[in-house]
Symmetry: D2
Subunit: 300 residues, 4 copies
Amino acid sequence: MLTPEQQAEIDAERAEPRQTLRAVSPGMERHLYTAHPVLDHGFVRVIDYMGDDNAITQAARVSYGKGTKAVSNDEGLIRYLMRHWHSTPFEMCEVKFHVKLPVFVARQWIRHRTANVNEYSARYSILDREFYIPEPDALNAQSTVNNQGRGATLQGEEAARVLEILKADSTRSYDHYEEMLSQDGKDGLARELARMNLPANVYTQWYWKVDLHNLFHFLRLRADSHAQYEIRVYAEEMCRLVKDWVPFAYAAFEDYRMGGANLSGKGVECVRRMLKGEEVTQETSGMSKGEWREFMEVVG
Amino acid sequence: MLTPEQQAEIDAERAEPRQTLRAVSPGMERHLYTAHPVLDHGFVRVIDYMGDDNAITQAARVSYGKGTKAVSNDEGLIRYLMRHWHSTPFEMCEVKFHVKLPVFVARQWIRHRTANVNEYSARYSILDREFYIPEPDALNAQSTVNNQGRGATLQGEEAARVLEILKADSTRSYDHYEEMLSQDGKDGLARELARMNLPANVYTQWYWKVDLHNLFHFLRLRADSHAQYEIRVYAEEMCRLVKDWVPFAYAAFEDYRMGGANLSGKGVECVRRMLKGEEVTQETSGMSKGEWREFMEVVG
Amino acid sequence: MLTPEQQAEIDAERAEPRQTLRAVSPGMERHLYTAHPVLDHGFVRVIDYMGDDNAITQAARVSYGKGTKAVSNDEGLIRYLMRHWHSTPFEMCEVKFHVKLPVFVARQWIRHRTANVNEYSARYSILDREFYIPEPDALNAQSTVNNQGRGATLQGEEAARVLEILKADSTRSYDHYEEMLSQDGKDGLARELARMNLPANVYTQWYWKVDLHNLFHFLRLRADSHAQYEIRVYAEEMCRLVKDWVPFAYAAFEDYRMGGANLSGKGVECVRRMLKGEEVTQETSGMSKGEWREFMEVVG
Amino acid sequence: MLTPEQQAEIDAERAEPRQTLRAVSPGMERHLYTAHPVLDHGFVRVIDYMGDDNAITQAARVSYGKGTKAVSNDEGLIRYLMRHWHSTPFEMCEVKFHVKLPVFVARQWIRHRTANVNEYSARYSILDREFYIPEPDALNAQSTVNNQGRGATLQGEEAARVLEILKADSTRSYDHYEEMLSQDGKDGLARELARMNLPANVYTQWYWKVDLHNLFHFLRLRADSHAQYEIRVYAEEMCRLVKDWVPFAYAAFEDYRMGGANLSGKGVECVRRMLKGEEVTQETSGMSKGEWREFMEVVG
């Protein structure tokens, strides 16, 4: 995944600690620059960060004044802020990732607009010959119940046929990409045009910088079980990094966002009726079938 | 480019004018819903808009109070606002486009983050068999002077070879895409996976909504002669639409942004020296070679 | 609240319906330009809007393709989108308000950054002599249980003392503002300086333009019972307008956001245990006292 | 300006350097936490930062690939990026300030929306008795030529009269604020209401976090000679800090933004004609009087 040159660069960056007066997160320092592998050729690595758990409460205390000092310890205050959707203190932390990822994953990712991005330019430079080819257990059939989900894993010949196509087409596309660019004797097509022949499983890379509040929003959607597997594995890797960076904030995020649930007004009403001993059915709930199914998943 | 069903839908939408008390731009009403062709299968069409030239000055007058009424007519005030980078009154106009465009163009476009987007989902639905194949006069060699530009048009065999590759690979990729999705007897790969085989010249589409200030920013960069041809033709089509929508604002944009130039502090100094009759060269200008070349293009 | 000139302007704008091909919301047309009074001198009025309920589902259908046409009617699809936090289709509607409001309310309001604003400039123009003086039933003591809330209504002498101060200080501040600006014989202080003498209950006004998704976010926070009364009355008035503009979207917002509740992972666990008949207390819930109190308010 | 407690806190934070693997800017480390005084009671201090000059070129090289390594040194590349409005690499640096400032300055400042803010809450806490009272040489008359500017400095009795009003009204407002809040024997007005009596020269404070690109945009507008003096002094202080943080980027900003000029299409045309020896006047320039005056200021 990493070239020897890249590994040498990482080793060099990690070799020389410097002195700073800024807030330091020991958990995050351990991860700095290291490439955490994701999928077959991808990775996530932290290039820089700003702030720690304490930076969140410090910002909250600017807002709420002296009162907050007495009332709560850091962990309790962070849970309070998360519970009441006080998002601005979480915006006071920032992190910058270097990510290598297939183009079709990048296209989903970029829909989150409140972040800063520098992507490798295929107008300017030539892309590497690296394509995402799924592992056999990530080759699923179209879901028969959910228009945007996956069903059973493909087996045997089915799986083989698909892998064969993906590999052959990736190779051929890249061969032709190179051929069109090539200049020996011929003119060579402009890079900005040649790239159009490359399929969406080719790898790209970018720097992605985001504040903690918006990162949590991204992770809630993309580390969710309904997210596409290929973006979810990136989100899950980032969850592990964030947990080491801001442990209190991450724990609150896990409890209130990832592990929590939203009830509608009708859902709240149903819970109350059920707790009073009433038998509630979809018909008497006022909910549609889809809502009722999701509600029953929450209340178990 | 449009299916008969789509054309029928456009005709139906255009058949029934309704009454409104809102600001109406007659120039824009003429374009509403109509698909303006761009590239071989793409289009731009206006789905909705808010405001007109008058909405810009009306907002400015909320800010600046009664004074502005006397001082200027609408055109003069709009030129004043544009010249002094008072951007908020231009943000008071909004427009919503439906755009069909190749994926590699969409990837450039989406880097402009201050807009709202709903893109066709290839997780959820199946993409159409439509690919961008350049016209012969848009097939250029890599520029030899600019890392991110195009040089001479490819000729004869060179051009034929490239077109051949693009067409054959598009067809084969789509055949395989369909084959992987196909379910007759077999399981059929999930759409969210199958799409990864499609190259970047496949067409996608989206609704794109943006305010006039941010649209002008987009147009300044993308209707510029240094922009890639394939996005520039979209920007140029949108320029024509905006010109009919808000003629005063567009004229000011053309004069101060598209037709204007930024001089550096050194550039201003050089102009002054030159106007005093001094012979200024790159060496005595304090500029680098690149800066000097660009400066000379401005002062002609 | 409105000067005769302003009323005449509104009447003129409302007198002349024009023809348009755009989506029209009949419920919103009835409100256009009309100033809805809020507090003692404030108002909210709709200046323009883009889209209706149908514009939301139309955008969703661009994303999800043909499938969505069969599955759901408009109302059902809108509820589905709201329930699953698919925010982009709601961003396809836009609305522009003209609001007159006290400065301390404006300062809270502006913290919502994803909107466009043109505010009356007190650098450029002279503010009017209008101050917010609360009605007697809106004069509350500091809450003794909540650091950022109100307690009992002030009574008798207490209330009279406060009203007396607010009125006298407003009057005196404005007298001095005028006096400092005045130029008869004297030089007259610059407006941008004189304004610093005006208290936070002076009225300002602005145009505020926002998309429906971000407006819902604003309304959820500001029409909430914990919001300060003086901003809540604006939010409530806007709720009424939005309800007439996009009735399906507003109903979904009311059910899933305003009337709904967020449960933490611990909260979900407690509900499940309670539904199985277990007696759960704060001690056995794993929650802090504050969390438990809020949880009990939800499950009733 | 600082209480002994605050100074002790700063001293403690500055006493303990820690080790980090992140990019460190030695010039910025020297400023960390130190309160730089602005106006009579305000300050700016840097709480944290992310990145340095090298972080900008590192991000640019992710985008432009290997080519950029050979072509340019860091300084040249940064100048190139600034000249061609490649803003994303500058977004890769971030800085967090703690600012104490009068409310009327805060109201201007907050119009820059692409930043993160935590402001001291006067709903939750009680504001300090600190007001901005201008120095005599900052007391100007309204400009007679510019609706939003200042003219001559007020002299003698004029100045004394104004200072007298500002001081007396500030004192009285704050006395009454305290009196309304007071609870001895009486109920005490809620803080969220009492604050409305405080004038716009009362001091507030906030944490303000922003990326370098957006900070430059802020500084270009607010360190400009047309900005109001009371916000300009903050911007100028921040310019000094940024210069020590990212010296190459700041130098490029100074040359291309602060010291540069925008010419309209007409302006470019006039420069060309003038350089050919033609006598150009306002009448033959095609510009309005205002445009011509501004143009002549540029070309000297």
